[in-house]
Subunit: 195 residues, 2 copies
DNA sequence: AGAGTATCTGAACGCGCGTTCAGTTCAATC
DNA sequence: GATTGAACTGAACGCGCGTTCAGATACTCT
């Protein structure tokens, strides 16, 4: 159990997760050693095992907490009624959430193949739940005649891929503000599924 | 220099590249050892160094030849005149080309961070050239009034991200044929940039 | 048959990996 | 001031890594 006021350095747990997230995102899970992470935290490698079961468990926890947070944040969002409003809310939410967590997003998309089978299945299930959110919006909109989407599942994949791609080029110092980026993507998504 | 009819097993070079491509795509560059690749080829690890300078050079060559082929294939394609036809040609070409080479695509998008700086710059330049192809199509179409695209550069990023995403879900045994997948994406791209 | 050469083996190199653990440090508690 | 126990160190464990290279092998060419 962690103490409330530590002896040596305290708050090592959160710093461990932050350091691992940054390093995994930058260099990849397989290319980052426990010693490298420990150095970032300012500790010897062995000390990390007071906070994690092993390296694989560290990766899994980073990915799981990211997806848990993603789903929780979406569910906490106040919803409108129509499919069009829901799609706009989803688009803006997705762009904003992903721009706020570039490292976590990168890891969640790139390190799937480094998960052990059981962990992989758990993460895939969470991701699938999120994809289903958009899929349901598109299906409902198509049923109402608001959208022209023949295949809501694959359309959802296409839209999510497009939106997630924002993390590959957006920079805070760049020409576009976050609001402008949201508008840009919403304009493309809206037209792409329009009747 | 490779011989035209070998002594021990011959054609080791191409088999090496094929094995490395499959393994890198499945497990990641950093997670695949030279000994693992050698075992796949049916040879000891040392023998691989008759064909490559080192592991990094192998990765670089895989990525470079993929992007060279991509650009060459696009340039070899017969072109129509208008922006709309060009966009349709690009969309269908991109989907088809990427579905034909899932492993190479995966590597080219995921292993960028494992490239040494000089190699990274070379690969990025090729990727940038390809993005510019679409960017120019969108800009021309916007100038002609055929498209409504305020920012052709970022719209190009968004479209390419959407199209490349096809490799994450398409399976040959799946419900949709390649032609149907092309149609699905073309329908979304066409509407997304339409005036 | 003999020379030449492309190919590959098998062993070795130094190194860093993930993980474990006995022992040390030190704030909090009694 | 003695005891507790979480946090951490530092060394060690076996192992696999990328790469090198002397020597063996098996083919082509003269």
């Amino acid at each position: 159990m962690a103490r409330t006021s530590g002896s040596h350095s305290e708050i090592t747990g959160p710093r461990l997760r932050a350091a691992a997230q940054a390093l995994f995102a930058r260099h990849g899970y397989a290319a980052v050693s426990m010693r490298r992470i420990a150095a970032e935290v300012g500790v010897q490698a062995g000390a990390l095992y007071n906070y994690i079961p092993d390296k694989q468990g560290l990766l899994f926890e980073l990915m799981k907490s990211h997806l848990d947070e993603l789903l929780a944040a979406w569910e906490a969002l106040p919803k409108g009624t129509g499919a069009r409003d829901a799609l706009e809310a989803f688009t803006r939410f997705h762009v904003r959430f992903h721009l706020d967590r570039p490292d976590a997003v990168f890891i969640a998309y790139m390190e799937l193949r480094n998960l052990e089978p059981a962990n992989f299945r758990a993460i895939e299930a969470l991701r699938r739940r999120y994809e289903t959110v958009l899929e349901d919006i598109l299906r409902q909109g198509a049923a109402e005649g608001a959208f022209d989407v023949a295949d809501s599942k694959h359309a959802a994949f296409a839209v999510i891929a497009m939106l997630t791609g924002v993390t590959t080029w957006y920079r805070d110092e760049g020409r576009l503000s976050r609001a402008e980026v949201e508008d840009l993507y919403w304009s493309m998504v809206r037209k792409a599924v329009s009747a």
